[in-house]
């Protein structure tokens, strides 16, 4: 994860709206992104994140709203005049040009002296470690190499803002993990401000300093990966990022630093207040890895302790997922890290088990 930007306000969108005929693709999105920050727009397909990115690039004109980049309103500036460059999902490398010419393409358009184009292009190729491939054509390179060419090309003009459209989407899983860190390293070396679009939460969490969760054209929550994972603002965000167990209930106790709720599986205590009204409907969200599981009744656990039956076991190597059937019939997902080889291996199908969690493990979400 990259360091969080210390200041915001370098790239600002003010109530940005994009309508296609009747459909609203982007609905009053207001964001403020700091200089040097890596900011991710995360959402499923059709949530408007790509349209937002295309407006930042200049390929789409906003229906209303402003885009300020370094204090300048660029909303109506054509893409070829914007100090913004994009790395396309498909890379969009020019197939008729070699790698060197691809990277030099933008620099040549600026009318820079030949020597400067040469120097800058060589620099960029060295940055992405592709100097030996300068004379190759794009189709002669592997997917990972093509991705680095695309990155070098989009960085060559020293843009004020770099846009990444599903930067790792075209790579296979193994390569993706390795590339994530490489990409962040290069971006941090250059020190450019980045807005990336992705549907892959892992990608967003590893690379971005802050994430905006989008759904139906709106931004639901903006925060660091940790904030979003640990303190989701609503059910959609909680469900979208990672796995979550949601229990519907009613608020029975509400104090500044703790609250209690009654749910179908029993009373649940949570270590934070909600400043709501009593008996209001709420949801309790608990991450599967925050739930403990054991066949024997645990000692010293006074609350948030429930019983259930093991229905499914998914062994995934580094951790195991259990699907439990709670006393009220609801399904509860629990994951346990496999820290030692003997751990928990005595739990099997149809076993009756206890499961519990700390009062700080869960969050209360208003419906």
């Amino acid at each position: 994860m990259a360091e969080a930007g210390t200041q915001t306000g370098y790239l600002v969108t003010e109530k940005l709206v994009k309508r296609f005929d009747e459909a609203v693709a982007v609905d009053e999105v207001s964001l403020s992104i700091g200089k040097g920050e890596i900011f991710a727009l995360l959402g499923s397909s059709g949530c408007g994140k790509s349209t937002l990115l295309r407006m930042l690039a200049g390929f789409e004109k906003p229906t209303s709203g402003r885009i300020l980049l370094g204090g300048q309103d660029v909303a109506n500036m054509p893409p070829y005049d914007r100090p913004v460059n994009m790395m396309f999902q498909s890379y969009a490398l020019f197939p008729h040009l070699n790698i060197w010419e691809n990277v030099a393409f933008g620099l040549k358009r600026e009318g820079l002296p030949k020597a400067e184009v040469q120097q800058r292009t060589d620099e960029m190729l060295a940055l992405v470690q592709l100097t030996p491939y300068a004379q190759r054509k794009p189709h002669q390179l592997s997917g990972g190499q093509q991705q680095r060419v695309a990155l070098a090309r989009s960085l060559a003009k020293k843009p004020k803002l770099l846009l990444l459209d599903e930067p790792l989407g075209a790579l296979d899983k193994k390569l993706r993990e390795q590339t994530q860190f490489e990409l962040v390293n290069i971006i941090e070396q250059v020190g450019v401000t980045v807005v990336m679009v992705t549907h892959d939460q892992e990608e967003a969490m590893t690379m971005a300093s802050r994430i905006a969760i989008m759904s139906k054209g709106r931004v639901l929550q903006v925060g660091t990966p940790e904030e979003i994972y640990e303190h989701p603002r609503n059910k959609f965000v909680a469900d979208f990022i990672g796995n979550v167990n949601l229990f519907a209930g009613k608020l029975t106790v509400d104090e500044p630093d703790r609250c209690a709720t009654t749910t179908a599986i029993g009373e649940v205590h949570v270590g934070h207040g909600v400043s709501g009204t009593l008996n209001m409907p709420v949801s309790i969200a608990v991450r599967p890895e925050k739930i403990e599981i054991s066949k024997a009744r645990p000692e010293g656990v006074g609350f948030n302790l429930f019983q259930g039956k093991v229905k499914e076991i998914g062994y995934l190597g580094s951790y195991t997922t259990y699907i439990l059937k709670a006393s009220d019939g609801s399904k509860v997902r629990v994951t346990e890290a496999n820290t030692s080889r003997q751990d928990l291996s005595d739990i099997t199908w149809e076993d009756d088990v206890y499961f519990w969690w700390d009062d700080n493990a869960a969050v209360v979400l208003r419906d």
């Binding site: 690039a57 200049g58 390929f59 054509p78 893409p79 070829y80 005049d81 913004v84 460059n85 994009m86 396309f88 498909s90 969009a92 490398l93 020019f94 197939p95 008729h96 393409f105 933008g106 358009r109 600026e110 090309r153 989009s154 003009k157």
Partner: protein, 300 residues
């Protein structure tokens, strides 16, 4: 090879086009080549056999070729009506191909960029003229371009010109006719090429600071090179030997090689010379083509 044993039909399938090409292209060409090396015939026979039936002596007549390049009376080399006709034909075929490219490219580009649902209809409109007789379409141009034709009437009606301008039976009317007839042969390969182009490449070019006009020249045109060449060849090659359109729409003073071959064949009844002219024309087209393919193959 194992695959041939497993699929005995494979050779047959591949063989069909070869047989076709042999029977309908190579064989006629060989016959043409044969006739070009024999003497003119007498009375009913259009040409004499290559060997004398009485003495059995084989005699190749190179004169048919020599006269193409130098007059029989011994004039200057390459200063013959034949060479002039060749050069004129190649020149007008080049002009036709250029005009087709000029008009065809926007057509093809527009169709390729239009919504996939309307593309078949637009392509249909390109091919629609083929449903009318070729001759009728060329005659229609006569009606349009004649002194008392549609175009002159309109121009005079609008007061742009006082009296009819001669458009028919000029090089211009011939080029109009040729460009009109060959245009689909340019549009179709260009379309096939442009429709496959990834238009995100244009966005990438804009993103890197290229105006739409420049992006067209730097990205679209180089990427459609194969389509441009294919269309150019499809127009240029038949246009060189075009006979009907120059005869119907062209001027009487500028004779194309197609007309020259026709005259030699049917007016002078000189089959061997007509054949020699045809062979030279084929070589004139094939040699540059072969050189071109040689270089593009090396590039790959």
């Amino acid at each position: 090879m194992a695959s041939n044993i497993a699929m005995p039909g494979k050779r047959f399938v591949i063989g069909v086009p070869y047989v076709w090409l042999f029977v309908f292209f190579l064989l006629p060409f060989l016959i043409l080549l044969y006739i070009s090396f024999v003497d003119m015939g007498e009375s009913i026979n259009p040409f004499k056999p290559i060997w004398d039936p009485v003495t059995g002596i084989l005699s190749l007549k190179y004169e048919n070729y020599w006269t193409i390049f130098r007059d029989a009376e011994g004039g200057e080399l390459f200063k013959t009506i034949y060479i002039e006709a060749y050069l004129r034909s190649i020149w007008y075929a080049l002009l036709t191909a250029m005009l087709c490219l000029l008009f065809g490219y926007p057509f093809a580009y527009f169709i390729a960029r239009s919504a996939p649902s309307v593309r078949p209809a637009l392509l249909m409109m390109v091919m629609l003229p083929f449903w009318t007789s070729f001759l009728l379409r060329v005659y229609a141009w006569k009606g349009i371009l004649a002194d008392q034709g549609v175009l002159n009437q309109i121009l005079m009606g609008l007061g742009i010109i006082g009296e009819p301008i001669q458009m028919l039976y000029t090089n211009v009317s011939m080029l109009v006719g040729m460009t009109y007839v060959y245009l689909p042969f340019m549009i179709l390969p260009l379309y096939a090429n442009l429709v496959k182009m990834d238009f995100r490449l244009l966005e990438a070019a804009y993103d890197l600071g290229t105006s739409p006009f420049k992006a067209f020249w730097l990205v679209t045109v180089p990427l459609s090179k194969a389509g441009i060449i294919a269309g150019f060849m499809l127009v240029f090659i038949p246009a060189v030997g075009e006979f009907v359109i120059p005869s119907l729409l062209g001027g009487p003073e500028n004779i194309m090689i197609g007309r020259v071959v026709w005259d030699e064949m049917f007016t002078s009844n000189n089959w061997p010379r007509a054949s020699a002219l045809a062979v030279v024309m084929i070589l004139l087209i094939i040699v540059p083509l072969a050189i071109y393919y040689h270089f593009t193959a090396e590039e790959k």
